[in-house]
């Protein structure tokens, strides 16, 4: 018995050590970014003085406000569109026969598994074939394209849990098809839709590779702007770190909010 206890402890210790390494890997760059966002030195060779100047610059420095506006407007638009369209597609796919449903899900997962560089190049090729000028529209299309599969993957498990008779029952009870969808299906899959939307938003706001291949020379989001500046061997304004720190704060707030809300719900039930 004693030996067994010792063994469990050893495994637990290993788990804790590896977990700590994981957090070290994940948070080292984050801490560097957060401290750089309040560091007055522009070249960032040393920590000079605490400042909040870069947080003001996020809204004022024209070299970064442009890319930020682009990033956020693409993220909002592509999230709204891909969430709505993806949900409808998911409902459609779910109602297929099992065999064709699986076939559609496999197709759906192609952009998820494909490396970003392949997706980016494929989109670039189709856009140039259709003679689109690379810019806002093509980036928006690209972001919608890679977001939809994630929305579908999030909505699908919820649909599977839904009783298939509910929709028919709503129709029998006099709902129109539109009403049945709005009042019966959507409320039941809303958590999946929200999760899918959140995922689409984060994928879009973070994207570099696909935007890089579909944006052309003029249109830049924060990532492609950083890449362009770094590529020229220049340094960028620390306002970029401040922007990132703000995103970081917002995401933590969202996570806290979701967890607290869940807890409240759990208590009521």
């Amino acid at each position: 018995m004693k030996k067994r206890l010792w063994k469990t402890r050893a495994w637990k210790a290993l788990g804790i050590v590896l977990m700590s390494i994981t957090f070290l890997f994940l948070y080292t760059p984050i801490i560097v970014i957060l401290t750089l966002s309040v560091n007055s030195s522009k070249r960032a060779y040393s920590f000079e003085q605490f400042t909040l100047q870069w947080y003001v610059d996020v809204f004022r420095d024209p070299s970064i406000t442009g890319p930020i506006v682009n990033t956020i407007s693409i993220a909002i638009l592509s999230t709204i569109i891909s969430t709505i369209v993806g949900t409808l597609f998911a409902i459609g796919i779910h109602s297929l026969q099992k065999k064709s449903r699986i076939r559609m899900m496999i197709l759906n997962n192609v952009p998820v598994v494909n490396p970003d560089i392949v997706t980016g190049i494929s989109l670039m090729i189709i856009f140039s074939l259709l003679s689109f000028t690379l810019g806002f529209t093509t980036v928006l299309f690209a972001h919608i394209f890679f977001s939809i599969p994630y929305v579908i993957l999030n909505v699908m498990p919820r649909l599977k849990r839904l009783d298939p008779n509910m929709y028919e029952a709503a129709l029998d009870l006099g709902c129109s098809r539109y009403e049945a969808m709005l009042k019966v299906i959507l409320p039941n899959i809303s958590t999946g839709i929200i999760a899918g939307g959140l995922m689409a938003f984060t994928m879009s706001i973070d994207d570099f590779v696909i935007t890089y291949f579909t944006s052309g020379n003029e249109y830049m989001n924060v990532s492609t702007w950083l890449y362009a500046v770094l590529g020229r061997g220049q340094s960028f304004t620390p306002a970029a770190y401040a922007y990132n720190a703000m995103i970081f704060a917002i995401t933590i707030a969202i996570i806290l909010f979701i967890n607290l809300k869940k807890e409240k719900k759990g208590k009521l039930a």
């Binding site: 290993l14 890997f25 970014i33 459609g92 998820v112 560089i117 298939p164 996570i255």
Partner: protein, 278 residues
């Protein structure tokens, strides 16, 4: 329910436009001398495949294979125990830890790479901050650590989501039937988590293999992966002389596609509807 099936028809058209057609064009570009930006008459040719004989391409392929394998192996060795440990924790702690693992992923990838650059440079900002002076920039170690840090969560999450759903009474049953802890793990737990492992390996290996910013920055431009070559063929060399660089890039992209199709077939075998992918 029948009528609802109509709603997925536009998706078929959409996927055909954005997946099937570009793949076909990649094939055409790889096998002919068609110019993507001035499509006219074109002839079949195998000339573009000659790039496989170039020395630098061979090195890039080897690097891709080497770095992605090492990264995946380390991610698995760290990630599996972490996922396992997570799944044994009480509900609340587990949720907090998983959330804390997701949060860093929302930081900009390029800024994270820049931050690692500072960490690995001797007498840099990081030295000023922590007193630690590492001189790793430009080395294999720097690239491997950077890749592991970038892709480790993508190994942990799929494995964790499978382990979390696993029926714990199976462990007890296995032990009641006389298996030791080790036997229970090898013959019950691990086989049942294999779908998560396969997804994790693929979601780590393919992105690591095709990454191009991270190896270029942390390797100081001396370490070139296949992603760097593809980027250069599609984005940089196009402006230069030959004009056929896109076609050569298409050959390399098709090669990556073959790998991802193989990965795909493995995933579909264990997990038909891709539930372990998110």
């Amino acid at each position: 329910m029948k009528r609802l099936t109509r709603m997925q028809i536009p998706y078929r058209v959409w996927m055909f436009l954005f997946i099937v057609i570009p793949t076909l064009i990649l094939f055409v570009l790889a096998l002919t001398n068609m110019n993507l930006y001035q499509i006219g008459a074109f002839d079949l040719t195998l000339d573009h495949f000659a790039i496989f004989s170039k020395n630098e391409i061979g090195i890039a392929f080897w690097n891709s294979f080497f770095y992605s394998s090492i990264t995946t192996l380390i991610c698995f060795l760290i990630g599996y125990p972490v996922a396992y440990y997570l799944s044994t924790l009480p509900n609340k702690t587990r949720k907090i830890l998983v959330s804390l693992m997701i949060v860093p992923l929302w930081s900009n990838m390029l800024l994270r790479i820049v931050a690692w650059e500072k960490v690995f440079t001797a007498d840099s900002y990081f030295t000023d901050l922590t007193g630690i002076s590492l001189n790793l920039i430009g080395t294999q170690t720097a690239v491997v650590i950077g890749l592991v840090a970038m892709y480790l969560p993508f190994m942990i999450f799929p494995i964790f989501s499978v382990l979390e759903k696993m029926d714990r009474s199976l462990h007890e049953a296995s032990k009641d039937l006389g298996a030791t802890d080790f036997q229970t793990f090898v013959r019950v737990t691990f086989p049942l988590s294999s779908s998560g492992v396969i997804s994790g390996v693929i979601m780590t290996m393919l992105p690591a293999m095709t990454s191009f910013v991270l190896p270029a920055r942390l390797g100081l431009g001396t370490i070139s992966l296949i992603g760097n070559v593809i980027e250069s063929k599609f984005m940089k060399e196009v402006l230069g002389s030959s004009g056929m660089s896109i076609n050569e890039g298409a050959v390399l992209s098709l090669f990556i596609m073959v790998l991802s199709v193989a990965a795909f077939m493995m995933i579909t075998r264990v997990d038909k509807e891709g539930e372990t992918l998110i």
